[in-house]
Amino acid sequence: MSGYRLPAGGRVDRNKPVSFTFDGKSYQGLAGDTLASALLANGISLFGRSFKYHRPRGVLAAGSEEPNALVSVLRGPGRFTPNLRATNVEIHDGLTATSQNRWPSLKTDFGAINDRLGMFFPAGFYNKTFMWPRSFWDRLYEPAIRKMAGLGDAPTEVDPDTYAATYAHCDLLIVGAGPAGLDAALEASGTGKRVILIDEQDEVGGGALADPALWAWLERSVKALNAAANVTILSRTTAFGYYHNNFIGAVQRLTDHLPENSQAPREKLWRIRAGEVLLAQGAIERPLVFDGNDTPGVMLSSAARIFANRYGVAVGKSLALMAVHDSGWHDVFALKKAGVGIAAIIDARDDIDEALQAEAAALGIAVHLSHSVIGVKGRHQVAAIEMCANGSDVRRTISCDALLMAGGWTPSVHLWSHSKGSLKWRDDLGAYVPDQPNENCRSIGACSGDWDFGKGAVFDVLPTPKDQARIKAFVDFQNDVTANDINLAVREGFRSIEHIKRYTTNGMATDQGKTSNLNGLQIASTALAKAVPDIGLTTFRPPYTPQTFGALAGHAKGALFQATRTTNIDGWAEENGAIFELVAQWRRARYFPKFGEDMHAAVNRECRAVRGSVGIFDASTLGKIEVVGPDAAEFLNRMYTNPWKALEPGRCRYGLLLKEDGFITDDGVSARLAPDRFHLTTTTGGAARVLNMMEDYLQTEWPDLNVWLTSTTEQYAVVALQGPNARKLLEPLVEGIDLSAEEFPHMAIREGHICGIPTRLFRVSFTGELGFEINVPTAYGRALWERLMADGAEYGITPYGTETMHVLRAEKGFIIVGQDTDGTVTPYDAGLDWAVGKKKPDFVGRRSLARPDIVAAGRRQLVGLLTEDSKMVLEEGAQIVADTNQPVPMTMIGHVTSSYWSETLGRSIAMALVANGHAMKGETIYVPMPEGTHKAVISSMVFYDQEGARLHV
């Protein structure tokens, strides 16, 4: 093709030349050009290669429906974007674009061998072959297929750009700023409605941009809208999806059109809730289906007009038109008037409006009615076309360098369909149009089927004297789907349009069938001898055009991806070299290595410190719920497995919570502060779940109870002081609480002050040592911690993390819900019979404990394990068997839930769920590991201080 810049016209700025490169070669365009218009102006016709056959392809369209002209753009390190449409890429100085899916070059592409062999690759060919020999699939066929796959290259570096997002609300959302959308916006601009007007192009105007007669009106309209305080115009913004209750997703492109990269967000996601939606998205012209219709230079008639009128670019020196719709005639007249050479008008219809014929004659354009193009000469660009009178086989050749197709119009019903509005078929348009809305939504202008482009006829494949079975007449250009592929699918028994789509991949390319769906339907309709509405319409799914992952997600990247919850003491831990672990949403200090210790060494030291003197632990993440009201005890009695009514104020109790299915879901020590006030604790990960569960029962099942639940997890920082010297350290700092063993026994709570700050002081222990958990208002957590560290120096106070906490509690046989239980464990399985109120008539989960399988023998029960080799620490998760002399698959009787080196005991200890484990104390079990089988004996879970002497001091 030999496109060129027209001497005048267009909306480009002829005083602002822009330099850019395509495939390494420099070109000049004008400000306002797209990459497509600029390359066309430079005489470029070859833009890309098709997906399957690697056929040379040019520009088909002028907008976002373009299936062929896909390019990659590089904007510096990490800023590589594949698969952009040249018709949407705005040029700027320094733009670096490359073609795709070709090797070694666009002109000489070895992949084009596929085109020569195309007869062997019809639709669905891969279903039928690559099966023999079987082993070749993994090693040869599939790798080869994958190598051919894909369009543009994948990015390889992390994108340095940022993305923004927002919610927005309006009374009226108008999608599409063509004449219909602008008119609607103007009408609403005088009202009190909040209006948002969205358009995907860089400039509002839509179809008016290609109609100079409307430019004056356009300028006035835009000025009026810009002046209207109630109207927000979002250009370069694509409304990509229409979701429930008038919720529309849109992406605004902010920086890609600028020559320089910046810190500004590249794109912004708009999540818009609209009172009413007006869809004014216009219509897309349909290509025609005939042999050679994919040759570069064959394009939509409307696109040629847009290139000429909007960009001042003639797509060729001599253009022919193949029309079945009047709109093509008008395009050609406009082109002719703009100074573009017209070779001929060919129309497959015989009955053409006389006024059109008269205008063609007046403009000196040759007209061939009842004729169809049957072939195209030229590989990288159109050199000539072959045509034939319909029904005849007398062929005529017409020289031209571009062929325009006017196949009629397809209303853009995509968003309407997303909204689940219904569609109706219109035979006269050969298209679906909106019927009944499902939301407060209207479709206006061309996308509703309401337009004045004139009449047209509907064809499936243009008449041809050639053997239909051997022509290459494309329907889906990007995916290389031909009319014959669709016929083959029908022949092979695929009858639903969804099947035909999936079998042929018609409409599944990156343009999502914008130019191919309707032609595919017509061809299938003919092949099946069924009316189009009887074979259905494939569903439109968001997004309307492809949208970057970054826009949809990128605002929530890095630190903003998901909050990491930290305690008031976290900063101290970080400054003091803690190694952290993530527990639920929190980050917790796992251990505090000193002098290059590994975890093992650090944990051993921390354990020795707690057992020997005193350790300090940040327990702030434990969930806390304050339960207040006259019925507080009654409520807890119904929720927890054990009795709560008799608990005296000032005392604590271990609470075990089941789900209604009888399995353990949470536990924690809770305190009664007053007859009508409890301070509950939950596991770190269970806090929100437990509160929600309790609210559910309270509000739904027992609304008569006078009790209220308040989360106080974050009201208190909790510092655990554990070890024989804990009391000595604490005593001088506490006011108003007698810490003596008699006055403040294990499992008690007192309120008072510490260092002048109010505290709820728990005497509890998860370590088996004398211990306190000091609750203070959160803001003082760190200061208290630092004070204790300072004052505790004389006792060698040692901060410890979750790992040491785990070891110490395991030595005492305390379970961790979620580690030693897994959602399938009952209190009995866990050996917590003592925590189940046998006399209580009911509690959550009680009935389920009587189900047949729950009372049956053979359940996995929690036990202690002592390895025969005391130095051997079993791996957590390791499986247990009773008999090692069995083939795979082996019968497993349990698994190791917790396993540690116990520094205190000088040996390893473990906990395990073992079938019938409670009855197997003293029996030997086996743990087969890849490196060998370990032997262990089932034991009590309490490995240290079985009498609890260390607690009650």
């Binding site: 079987r134 894909g150 390889t156 994108d159 299915d661 399988d853």
Partner: protein, 417 residues
Amino acid sequence: MTRFSALSLFAKALGAHQDWPEQWPDAAPKASYDAIIVGGGGHGLGAAYYLAKKYGITNVAVLEKGWIGGGNTGRNTTIIRSNYLYDESAHLYDHAVKLWDGLSQELNYNTMYSKRGVMMLAHNVHDIQSFKRHIHANRLNGVDNEWLTPEEAKAYCPPLNIAADARYPVLGAALQRRGGTARHDTVAWGYARAAAALGVDIIQNCTVTGIRRGADGAIEGVETTRGYIASKRVGVSAAGNTSVVMQMAGLDFPLESYPLQALVSEPIKPTFPCVVMSNTVHAYMSQSDKGELVIGAGTDQYVSYSQRGALHIVEHTLAAICEIFPIYRRVRMLRTWGGIVDVTPDRSPILGKTPVKGLYVNCGWGTGGFKATPGAGDLLAYTMAKDEPHRINAPFNLDRFRNGRLIDEAAAAAVAH
């Protein structure tokens, strides 16, 4: 049945592909069948095929309300794996994986089973414990599953971000090398073609509207939009619509149907060599033979049959993907879609007999049914042919919800502390 091969493809090409026969005839319903399968997805078509192939029951109809393979078979992200924790699950899914291997040859239809490996990421200590438990259980069950360090995981999947300061750092991964993907549509089509060749009627656009039971309560047949069809054996394999069909037989089921979304990117050149799953971050991704990044999103929170999901689910999913694979932020999402997944209380399937004589059920696969396709089909066929479950699917009975013998894989991976 015309045998598919490179040779037949070549021969037909010379005739411009004009004489390919129908892959399966579009059957009209007969008055009665020996067995009826309700639901023309991969599972149902597979059941019909195995009934005919292995158990000699060829007078079989598959009733599909729309087009075959149009439900979850054609809407899922095609992940295949069998590294489940419990013996019951491991045996069930491994039965399927063994059938996937060689399915193309068995059906003479390339299902494109690609053993690309399925890697599950561990992001915290709890994940590590849970994955190790899986790995050891799998090893003793003869199911491959191995532990990878973060560096090994990165080597297996180079786009993976293993930076220690990531919000959800990768602390390791469990890899099942036999896991992978297959081409979803071809599984339905391949079974349909092979079943039809054995005499099975594939009946599309045929919605079951009622179930007829005799005086003794046993199944007599089904009412459909295309008339009454008699059969003493009816297998329901209707995924999200199972509750609706079961209610026609007077059975209430422990099922809820939720919308599940998935999405693909535009095709890009090969960049992602395996399947990666992160249950903690909710990200599931592979790359298709066509070059699209195939991404599984989460379910919406409410019961729905609308096949329409919410935007915020997609936002969360892609945020997760971009955290784990930050090089893909500039890649573009091409298409999203929704399916309806039927979920049981323990999130394991129900596959076996029902309280109604002659009525069998295969449902409750939730988000993971595709991987089980050949196994579920085979076991449903066995159960229908013998009127008793195979030992592999026997544990997946309805009784477990009464007696408490649940098979709760998700609970086993539950997070607390």
